[in-house]
Symmetry: C2
Subunit: 337 residues, 2 copies
């Protein structure tokens, strides 16, 4: 890498978040996405940037733009939603991004949760979710608890397999905290995100032990070898079990198993995977819940030095601006035309 | 340890499972439990033994017997259940074992899940759950998917704390598999169960790195030092996040936080912790679910050498007999009088 490239990588561009959303929208529209797809992808990518997860943000948006261009995401899907009971929402994403059907259902979903205390949203035949925390945080901002899971194409070992059998299958959880931002957990089932291995390979860097196996199933610290091999689940067999649970919940209504899902970054067919979200109204169980949780999180942090998930954002508002590497910003600008 | 003790430890007593249930029931009744408590504890302990989890089985029953004798479990509780909506069951365990309120609700709970696709059972003010898989497997045996969580008194670090802030907070998950036993996951949030550290200390053995910190917050392999210190979560910060999620769900309706719960093995007051169970009818989402899952699990095991959770019991029926160390059997017999 030249010194000039190093300098350019270190340069940052600061953008107002709503302006960044607008540029992302333009990029999605220009790659064949309809307005609903543009709204969904822009909101989700900027959410991840503001939330301090750049790997799920603008950099990841380029994967979505490529997938739109190549037909792995249907840009003008017609998702449908059925409601077999007042508290179950079953969506067919019609090959588009999963956010669209979620957006169509979300108001009725929240109302069902308030009326009944619990409701479930299950989707099949959709593209990958991107930042899964986006979905649960939206529910939590309405005072609700949410747990979401999603599956994706096979990239990860499970149960000691030498080859990839599950996606990096994330789960996300959010709970409302009185007078503060919600508590949000959003994590892959793999020890690390695929993006991190891809980025290490791009930079010619090695990866830590425990992240991956090579194509023969042997542990490796070579990022290139890891790209030819498989990611490892976090936390040994217990993390592997959680990845399997996520797989089952996510594909419950008929989403493809990870093994049957097309890759996210090549080919012309969509992965048709699934997502699952269960949402609770804590007020039906204890009217004092969010205050109790607030006091408890304060105690954990202040009296016991617990680092809370989300980097302590529970006591910090979302930033109004996004701070991106200039290279990423210029690349986005070019894609937005 | 003497050679004689070694020999006695190696001797096994084989008992018919239903006979073992009867001996456990007698022991519970003799320690002040009412018939409902006796039924619950006996069924749960023998379930764990048959399921190949002896640490949650008869050995753990002795903890319950001690707790009944000392008043940490109320032997004749009057649990109550409210139903704020058709799909939410909120139980107050009245200081007894949590199984009793669950047993009172389970038929209506299963009916609600069948009618509505999803229902939630939340309990506060109860003793620890013991084998949590017991609860979800009962739901799965009716063709339902279940996810359960429970909290317990603080024994474990979380978020990098030097002291104990969470229980070993287990989660359990079960899904129905066509023509086979359900798939069951049942695991603590700690790297290892407290029982394993206690047993290592009793035998004068060291423990593996990663299980625990000493009382100063330093990593230790000394089992005695670990008993004075804290257990570690499995899987680093991701496992720690899951333990926190479990804590929040379990205490949702007003169960004590782990920090406020009395120890399970000393004192005369109950922990008054909580449990949470959400249950789904997969048929409302996809009528073909359990067949799809069956084929998928076969493929994972046969084509990809995946070790499935539950030690492959999905293809093996529950044993009709339990095989216990003679010492444990004799100790149970003595407690049963």
């Amino acid at each position: 890498m030249t010194a000039e490239k190093d300098v350019r990588r270190a340069l940052r561009a600061t953008t107002n978040a709503s302006r960044l959303v607008e540029i992302c929208r333009r990029a999605v529209l220009r790659h064949g996405g309809d307005p609903a797809t543009a709204d969904s992808l822009a909101a989700s990518a900027v959410y991840a940037e503001r939330n301090g997860k750049p790997n799920q943000g603008i950099t990841h948006l380029f994967d979505y733009l490529d997938a739109l261009r190549d037909g792995r995401i249907k840009g003008r899907p017609r998702p449908s939603i059925t409601r077999p009971s007042p508290v179950t929402f079953v969506a067919d994403g019609d090959g588009g991004v999963p956010h669209i059907a979620f957006d169509l259902a979300v108001d009725q979903l929240a109302a069902a949760v308030r009326n009944f205390g619990v409701a479930v949203f299950s989707q099949k035949n959709a593209y990958f979710c991107g930042a899964l925390g986006y979905f649960v945080e939206r529910m939590a901002s309405h005072g609700l608890i949410a747990l979401a899971t999603a599956n994706s194409s096979a990239l990860m070992s499970a149960g000691g397999s030498a080859s990839a059998v599950l996606g990096t299958n994330p789960m996300a959880f959010a709970a409302p905290v009185a007078e503060r931002s919600p508590l949000v957990i959003d994590q892959a089932s793999s020890q690390t995100a695929f993006m991190n291995v891809r980025e290490s390979a791009r930079l010619g860097r090695s990866i830590p032990p425990g992240w991956a196996l090579d194509h023969e199933g042997a542990p490796t610290t070579d990022a290139e070898a890891a790209l030819d091999g498989v990611l490892l689940p976090f936390g040994g067999y217990k993390g592997s079990n959680i990845a399997l649970m996520i797989e089952i919940l996510s594909a419950m209504s008929g989403g493809n198993w990870s093994l049957d899902a097309s890759p996210f970054d090549s080919g012309d067919s969509g992965p048709s995977v699934g997502m699952f979200l269960v949402c609770l109204d804590p007020n039906l169980f204890d009217a004092n819940f969010s205050t109790r949780l607030s006091l408890h999180l304060d105690r954990l942090r202040d009296d016991f030095d617990v680092r809370l998930p989300g980097g302590g954002r529970t006591s910090r508002p979302f930033p109004a601006t996004c701070d991106l590497p200039v290279q990423v910003f210029e690349r986005l600008w070019a894609r937005a035309g």
